[in-house]
Symmetry: C2
Subunit: 605 residues, 2 copies
C-alpha cells in the first residue's frame, strides 16, 4: 500500500521565500488578511484531511470502481462519507466569492489544497474540484441564475458537470448536435447525448447542475452556433428547494484505464429543461472563459501524481536491498545495499522530484496570476496577468501531464516487478495519470493552442511578456556566484525560445503544416524552459538561505535547501538538455510527416 | 475492439530482400530445405491462426483474468481450447531439435510466429513460448533428463516455468534462499518460495516442469552457490507416464497491471523432489545459457505490441473525422477531415511504425544469429555470432521494451478520449507492454549488462565487431545517391558510439558510479544507432527496388517500398537525433546523481 505526506514544507518555501506572496496580497484589495500563520494552519488541516481521510479511499476505489444500475451511479465504498465530511468542513468554499457563500481567500490556497487532494486520491479529488463550473456561471450567467445555483455549488451540496463532448466530437466541438429549442417562458428544451462526462451522475451531491453546450435550430453551423445552458438534474424551485426530476439520465458509465473511482458518464438529455447562460451562440466563449482554470487543474493532477509516486518510490529505494554499490559495499551490516545507492535509481528518482517540485512552483505562479487577475484594480496589470495565463495554461496542462506520465512510470520502474503488481499501488498512478494527457484537450491540442492561437496569432507578443520576465531575472542574477551556471543555461534557452518562434512563424507563412508538425515539440521545449526559470528561482533562494546560515554562524546546513540546490543542478544538467532535441525537431520540415499517402499507413498483406 | 493482421509482406521483404536468408541457409548444415515457398506457407498459416484463433482471446482475457482457487489456476475462457489446437497443429515444434520431436526449421521462422502470437494476444503468446526452458535443459542436462522431459516440452503437452525470483530478491539472485538437500538416490529435496513465476500453475499443460534455482546446504554464499534443478509438478515415471503429485503448490496469483490472462504465480516447494541440471553450484551459468533467448522474446513482445497498436491507431486515424487540415479542407464531402491529415497525428503514427518495422528487422537479424550460432561448423563464425548475440540481446530487450511503451502510449493518444476506454483495446496494449521493461531484468539491469559486462569488460572488443559491420555497410553505400543522407548520419553516430564508449571507460577508472550513471542513456543511444543501421539497410533495398521498376519500365510505383523509404526518412530526421541528447547525458558526471544524501530524498514536513 502507498503512503502520502502533504508537502507542507515545500509550500511554505514557495509562498514565503520564492514568491513572497504575503507582500503581494498586501497590495491587493480584500486580500491583506492572508498571513503565514493562517495559511500554515489551513494547509496543515487540509493536509491532514488528505492524508487521513482521502488517501485511504485511493486503492480500494481503484479496485472497486463505480457502479451503474438502472441509471443510478454509485461511487466506491467510503466516498460518500468522506465527501460529506469534506464539504461540512467548508473546503470547497475556501477561495470562492463571499457573495455566494465563499470564504474569499486567495486561489493559491485552494490550488495547494487541490494538489493534496489529487495526490491522496485523484478520482476523489476530481469530484471536489468545481472551480471551472463556478467560474463559468459567475462570469456569464444572469444575476438570477447565479443566486439560484452558485451557493449550493460552492458549499458542495451540488455538483457541476461540464457537458461538451459527444460521441462523434471531442476536440472539434463545432460538430456537436445536441439541440436546444426555446419554450415560451424563456427556458429551453435540450435534447442530445453527451459522453465522457466526469461526475455526470453520482451519489455524492444531492443535485447536479449540468453545463451543456447545445445548438438552437436556426443557429449557424460550426462553433459559432453553439449556446451554453444550465440543465439541472433536479429542477430547482424559485425558493431554492428541489422540485421535479428533469429529463436527464445517465445511459452508462465508461470502463476506463484508470480513475476508476471517478464516474465518466454517458448523459442523455431528452427534452430536458435548460436555462441559457450568457448570449445565444456565444456558448463557446462562455465555456472558454473557464478553460484556463479547468486546464490548470489537470496540470495540477500531473504534479499531484508525480509527487505521491515519488514519495513512495523514494521510500522503497531506501528500503529495498538488492546488490552492492558499484563503488563497493556501503552497508556491510545488511545482506545487500539499499537500491538508492545505484546511480540509475537516483536518476529515476531525481527526474520525479525535479518534476514534482518544479511543477509545484510553476502551478503556484499560475495560481498567483489568477489571484492578481481577479483582484487587481490596475487594468494594465490585469491585462498582463490575462496574457500570461493564456500563454502558460497550455504549457501547464500539456507539459505537466506529459512529464507526469514519464514520472509515474519511473516510480513504477523503481519498484521493479513489484511495481507491476496492483496491490503495491504504483501502477494505479500510471493508469490514473494517463488521462491527464487527454482530457480537457490532448497534448496535441495544447501544442496547437500554444503555438498557433496564443503565440503566432499574437505575433509572439504574449511570449515576449514572459521571456522578458525571465530575461530580467537572468540579468539581476548573472553575477550570483552559486547559481551562475544555471543562469547561463536559462538565459541561453530563453533567447533561443524567441528565435525558434520566429523561425517557425516564417516557415508557417509558406506551409501551415509546419506549425502542426512543430507544435508538440514546441510545447515540450516551452515547458522545459519554464521549469528552468522556476528551478533557477528556487535555487537562488536556497543558495541565499544556505549562505546566510554560514554568514550568521547558524549551525544548520539545512538539508531542505541543500536538496533544492542539488535537485536544481540535476534539472539543469540532466533535464534541460532535452531542449536541444526539441529545438532541432520543431524546425524539421513537415515534409517527413506529410509525404506518405494516407492509405499507405496500413498495408494488408 | 481491436484488429490484427499478420505482417506477412514485411517478413517476406526482410527474409528475401533485406537479409537474403535463403542464401545463408543454403550454406548451413541441415538447413537448405528452407525455401521461400515453404516459409510463405508456414507464416501464412501461422498468421491465420494468430488472427483468427488467438486474437479473439485478447480483450476478453484481459477483462476476465486468471483465477486461483485452492491452489488451482484457471486461465480465461477459451485459452484451453485454443492452446489444444495450437499444440495439435505442431506450432511449438517448428524450430526445436528433431532428436526430441522438433521439426528443426530455422529459428527465424519460430521468431516470426512468436511475434504474431504476441501481437494477437500477449498473455497467450507467453504461454506458448518455451525456447528458454528447452534450451536450458538441452544445453545443460544429462541425456537421461533430456530424453525424459524434452519431447513433451517440445510438443507442448508440458510447460516449463522458470523459477528464479523470490520475494526478497529479483535482480540480485545471489540472495536467494530456496534450499536443495540431496537424497541418497541422486535426487534432491527442494524447499522454498518463488514469486513472479509466469505460468507457474495453470490448466493448459498437463504437467509443468519447473526449472528452479536453489542452494545446497554447504554451498558458498552469493551467486556462486546456486544450483539448477528440474522440479516437475507431477513426477514422471521412467516409462514417461505421469506418476505422483510432487510437493509443489501455487500459493496465489498476482493481480497485475496487465497481461491478466497470463498467470503470475507464487510457487511453494515443500520438500519437493528435484533433479540436478548440470553441475552443483553452476546453476547461474546454466540458467544464463538461455538468457539471450528469453530476453530476445521480451524484445519481440515490444515489436509485437507496437505493431498491433500501430495497426489500430492508423485505421482509427483514417476513420475518425475531427477538424479540418491546417492547409484547408481536404475532404469537402465529409463533415470534417480524418485526423490523419494532421501533422502531429502522423508524427505519432510514424514513431510507432518506425519502431515496429525497425525492431522487426533487428529481431530478424538476431534470430539469424541464433541460427548461425547453432548450425555453423565454422568455429570462428560461431564465436562471432556468440559475441554479437551477447552484445545485442540487452539492446533488443531493453531498447525494444522502452520504445514499445512509448509507441503504445502514442497509439492510445491517437484515439484521444476513446483510447482511455477499456473496450477500445488501446489501453490494454499499454498495460501489457509495461511488463517488458521489467521482467527478465529491468532496463537498468540491461543497461549495466550492456555497458559493464558486455562492453567495458571486453575493452570494447565486442562492440567493435558490430560497429565494424556497420562501418563496412556505410563504406559500401556511401555513394548510393538516394540513401546518402541516411548513410552520412549512420556513419557519424556509429563512429561516435566508439568514442563515447572510450570516454565512459576512462571515467569509470576513477569513478565506477559513472558507469551506472551512463548505463541507461548508453543503452538508448545504442538502440537508436542499431535501428538506424537496419533502417538504412531497408531503405537501400527499397530504393533499389523502386529504381529497378523505373529502369525496367515496370508500371508499379510500389507503395510498400515507397512507404519504407518514407519511414526511413522519418527515422533519420525525427528519431535518430535523440542520440545527441543521450550522448550528452551519458558523459554527464555521476556527481549530480550521487551528491544528495540518501535520507534527504524524503522530507517529512
Amino acid at each position: 500500500m502507498t503512503i502520502y505526506k502533504a508537502p507542507l514544507i515545500d509550500y511554505k518555501f514557495l509562498f514565503e521565500d520564492v514568491f513572497d506572496v504575503y507582500s503581494i496580497y498586501q497590495g491587493l484589495p480584500n486580500s491583506s488578511d492572508l498571513t503565514p500563520e493562517l495559511t500554515d494552519d489551513i494547509l496543515e488541516q487540509a493536509g491532514k484531511f488528505a492524508e487521513q481521510e482521502i488517501q485511504p479511499l485511493n486503492y480500494p476505489g481503484h479496485e472497486e470502481g463505480c457502479h451503474w444500475e438502472n441509471g443510478k451511479v454509485t461511487t466506491p465504498k467510503g466516498y460518500k462519507e468522506v465527501y460529506k465530511k469534506y464539504i461540512a468542513s467548508g473546503w470547497t468554499q475556501i477561495s470562492e466569492n463571499p457573495n455566494y457563500g465563499g470564504q474569499g481567500l486567495p486561489r493559491i490556497i485552494n490550488a495547494a489544497i487541490g494538489e493534496m487532494n489529487l495526490s491522496a486520491c485523484a478520482a476523489f479529488g476530481i469530484y471536489v474540484t468545481r472551480d471551472g463550473s463556478i467560474a463559468t456561471i459567475e462570469n456569464n450567467a444572469s444575476k438570477e441564475l447565479k443566486e439560484k445555483y452558485l451557493p449550493k455549488l460552492i458549499d458542495g451540496s451540488w455538483g457541476g458537470p461540464m457537458c461538451m463532448t459527444e460521441p462523434h466530437c471531442g476536440s472539434d466541438l463545432g460538430l456537436l448536435r445536441t439541440k436546444a429549442e426555446p419554450y415560451n417562458d424563456g427556458s429551453y428544451s435540450i435534447s442530445g447525448t453527451k459522453m465522457f462526462i466526469t461526475g455526470g451522475e453520482g451519489d455524492l451531491a444531492e443535485n447536479n447542475i449540468h453545463l451543456v453546450l447545445a445548438r438552437l435550430p436556426d443557429s449557424p453551423k460550426g462553433i459559432k452556433g453553439i449556446s451554453l445552458f444550465i440543465v439541472p438534474n433536479i429542477l430547482v424551485n424559485d425558493n431554492g428547494s428541489l422540485g421535479d426530476k428533469n429529463s436527464v439520465s445517465c445511459g452508462s458509465i465508461e470502463h476506463k484505464m484508470g480513475l476508476n473511482g471517478s464516474s465518466t458518464c454517458v448523459m442523455n438529455f431528452d427534452n430536458a429543461t435548460g436555462f441559457l447562460v450568457g448570449e445565444i451562440n456565444k456558448g463557446m466563449r462562455a465555456m472558454f472563459s473557464m478553460v484556463n482554470k479547468s486546464r490548470f487543474t489537470i496540470g495540477q493532477q500531473g504534479t499531484a501524481l508525480a509527487e505521491v509516486s515519488y514519495q513512495n518510490a523514494a521510500l522503497y529505494a531506501q528500503d529495498r536491498l538488492q546488490m552492492r554499490a558499484l563503488t563497493g559495499v556501503q552497508y556491510p551490516e545488511l545482506t545487500a545495499d539499499p537500491i538508492i545507492v545505484h546511480p540509475d535509481v537516483r536518476r529515476m528518482l531525481l527526474i520525479q522530484r525535479a518534476f514534482a517540485e518544479g511543477s509545484r512552483a510553476f502551478n503556484t505562479y499560475i495560481a498567483l496570476l489568477f489571484d492578481k487577475q481577479e483582484r487587481t484594480v490596475d487594468e494594465k496589470e490585469k491585462q498582463t496577468c490575462t496574457t500570461l495565463l493564456d500563454l502558460l495554461t497550455p504549457i501547464c496542462k500539456g507539459f505537466n501531464s506529459e512529464m507526469c506520465t514519464e514520472s509515474v512510470n519511473l516510480g513504477l520502474q523503481t519498484f521493479g516487478g513489484h511495481g507491476y503488481i496492483r496491490e503495491n499501488g504504483m501502477e494505479q498512478f500510471v493508469r490514473d495519470a494517463r488521462a491527464a494527457q487527454i482530457y480537457e484537450g490532448t497534448t496535441g491540442i495544447q501544442g496547437l493552442d500554444l503555438l498557433g492561437r496564443k503565440i503566432l496569432a499574437s505575433q509572439g507578443k504574449s511570449l515576449k511578456v514572459f521571456t522578458k520576465e525571465i530575461h530580467l531575472f537572468c540579468e539581476e542574477n548573472k553575477n550570483h556566484q552559486q547559481i551562475k551556471p544555471f543562469i547561463d543555461r536559462l538565459s541561453k534557452v530563453n533567447n533561443q525560445w524567441l528565435e525558434l518562434t520566429l523561425k517557425i512563424g516564417a516557415n508557417a507563412m509558406t506551409n501551415p503544416n509546419d506549425v502542426g508538425a512543430a507544435s508538440v515539440d514546441y510545447l515540450m521545449y516551452s515547458g522545459y524552459v519554464t521549469f528552468a526559470y522556476f528551478w533557477a528561482k528556487m535555487a537562488k533562494v536556497a543558495a541565499d538561505k544556505l549562505e546566510n546560515n554560514i554568514n550568521n554562524n547558524i549551525n544548520n546546513n539545512s538539508p531542505f535547501h541543500q536538496a533544492k540546490l542539488q535537485t536544481a543542478r540535476f534539472y539543469f544538467e540532466r533535464i534541460l538538455p532535452r531542449t536541444a532535441l526539441h529545438a532541432e525537431l520543431m524546425i524539421s520540415s513537415s515534409d517527413n510527416l506529410m509525404e506518405m499517402e494516407a492509405e499507405n499507413f496500413v498495408f494488408n498483406s
